[in-house]
């Protein structure tokens, strides 16, 4: 594994790495994008392996590290990991639910050199927020965490995922983010992978409500210019062209799962037949440049029509491979969100089917199966 890696000139260096440090999480959000089959604590990478990955990442040219999960604060070695990232010059962003972040821990992370904190909120109202998170008291706890994060001097981003239960309060969540002291807010309509796909009928808002929420947030963007930066991810199923998913497959970022599998995106394992390599057996550079899963949809050679002869093929790279797989049965097809896709009607059908019911079904909360005696 230490043989020098042949660096192909045409493949760009990655800029970001999403490190899913653990799948453990105290919350049970039904919109979670983690896979249904999650990695148990016993299969998680140990501290030394993570530190090696981050050293290799810095060498490979990665700039941003997003420490995520699950809940990354569930790892006892979080501070040590952050300190190492800072030492090797990586920009570290902690993506957290806030649960498990005491004031002391926030201070330790600050001393260790963490650059930025991204805190999730589930709603602008406590009762609904706690119900969505499946955790009583989560909303109140998040307020305290936001306070200690900003008091420690961290720039704070608040992240709000929009779905049926909170779609009417998208604007209120932007206002809550301001109240919490955030400089930036991400308002993201749910993407239907992992647990979110299981819960799609419970989560998908009626089209008119989603459109109202989009307009409300766009109006706030102008109103709060200079107060808060709004990053807005509009609903996929309502768009005309797909997004350039991940900025193009294996072009900018990679994901490392708690057990060490390296993926071009967090949902890539939903595509059958891809061979993912593990950091336990391969160097990160080797995985980026030569592993089969990363090569599979790199560039544009693999494309079918209508993408193959489309002038937008280097703009959106045919959208999302996982969505193409889920809705058309072939990951090489155009993302059916695209109105040029012959399968576009399937997107329309889902939107009308799943939102037709008067009452949304109950959530299937995200839960990690109980595992035998934890180690470490």
């Amino acid at each position: 594994m230490n043989a020098p890696v042949h660096v192909p000139v045409h493949v760009p260096r990655p800029v970001g790495l999403l490190a899913e440090l653990t799948h453990r999480c105290p919350l049970g959000c039904p919109y979670c994008s983690n896979p249904l089959e999650m990695d148990a604590r016993t299969s998680e990478l140990d501290t030394q392996t993570w530190l090696r990955i981050f050293s290799e990442a810095a060498e490979l040219g990665i700039i941003h590290i997003h420490l995520s999960g699950g809940e990354p604060a569930s790892r006892r070695d979080l501070v040590e990991i952050v300190a190492h990232c800072a030492k090797v010059g990586l920009y570290t962003n902690l993506i957290t639910s806030g649960i498990g972040l005491s004031e002391e821990r926030v201070a330790e992370l600050s001393r260790a050199g963490l650059d930025h904190v991204q805190l999730s909120i589930q709603d602008s109202e406590a009762e609904s927020g706690d119900r969505i998170a499946g955790y009583e008291g989560a909303f109140a706890r998040k307020r305290e965490v936001a306070r200690s994060v900003t008091a420690a001097g961290f720039p704070l981003t608040v992240n709000a995922v929009i779905h049926r239960a909170n779609v009417s309060r998208a604007g209120a969540m932007v206002k809550l983010a301001i109240e919490l002291g955030a400089k930036r807010v991400e308002v993201a309509h749910t993407q239907y992978y992992g647990w979110a796909k299981t819960n799609r009928a419970a989560l998908l808002p009626p089209r008119a409500e989603a459109e109202r929420a989009v307009a409300e947030v766009e109006a706030l963007r102008a109103q709060y210019k200079g107060v808060i930066v709004i990053d807005h991810v509009i609903p996929d199923y309502h768009a005309h062209f797909p997004k350039a998913c991940m900025g193009g497959w294996a072009r900018r970022t990679l994901n490392v799962t708690p057990a060490g599998r390296v993926l071009p995106c967090h949902a890539a394992e939903t595509i059958p037949g891809l061979e993912f390599w593990n950091v336990r057996e391969h160097a990160l550079a080797d995985i980026w440049y030569t592993s089969p899963a990363f090569q599979a949809f790199r560039g544009t050679e693999w494309m079918l029509e209508p993408c193959r002869s489309c002038p937008r093929k280097e703009v959106d790279f045919g959208g999302c491979r996982c969505q193409a797989m889920a809705l058309t049965g072939d990951a090489r097809n155009a993302d059916p969100v695209c109105h040029l896709s012959p399968y576009h009607d399937r997107v329309e059908a889902i939107v009308s089917e799943d939102t037709a019911a008067e009452a949304a079904p109950d959530y299937v909360y995200r839960r990690l199966q109980r595992t035998p005696a934890p180690v470490a």
Binding site: R13, N93, K183, V229
Partner: protein
């Protein structure tokens, strides 16, 4: 922000969460923020290295003019243009 609105005595600095970094892998200077990477050309990098929260705008311009033996008025314009643009993106505090 307009370039004229920056006062001679303002003390520019990078806010917490924004970092200037030399990227050894690509051999270039980058200005980093959460979810954001801006390339800094050599002139921008020299300016940003001096935005430490200690030197005033006037002092930074003097220093650059002396270090590079360049026309002060021209450097003043470059510095103001860069800082005004970055202040709008909240990547510099003045």
């Amino acid at each position: 922000m307009s370039t004229a609105a920056i006062s001679e005595t303002s003390v520019p600095r990078l806010p917490r969460g924004v970092r200037l970094k030399h990227d050894d892998a690509r051999n270039e200077w980058l200005l980093l923020a959460p979810e954001r990477i801006l390339k800094a050309d050599p002139i921008a990098a020299e300016i940003l290295k001096r935005c430490t929260g200690e030197a005033t705008l006037a002092a930074i311009v003097d220093d650059l003019a002396a270090s590079f033996g360049a026309d002060r008025a021209r450097i003043d314009t470059d510095v103001r243009n860069l800082l005004a643009g970055l202040a709008d993106k909240r990547m510099v505090e003045l």
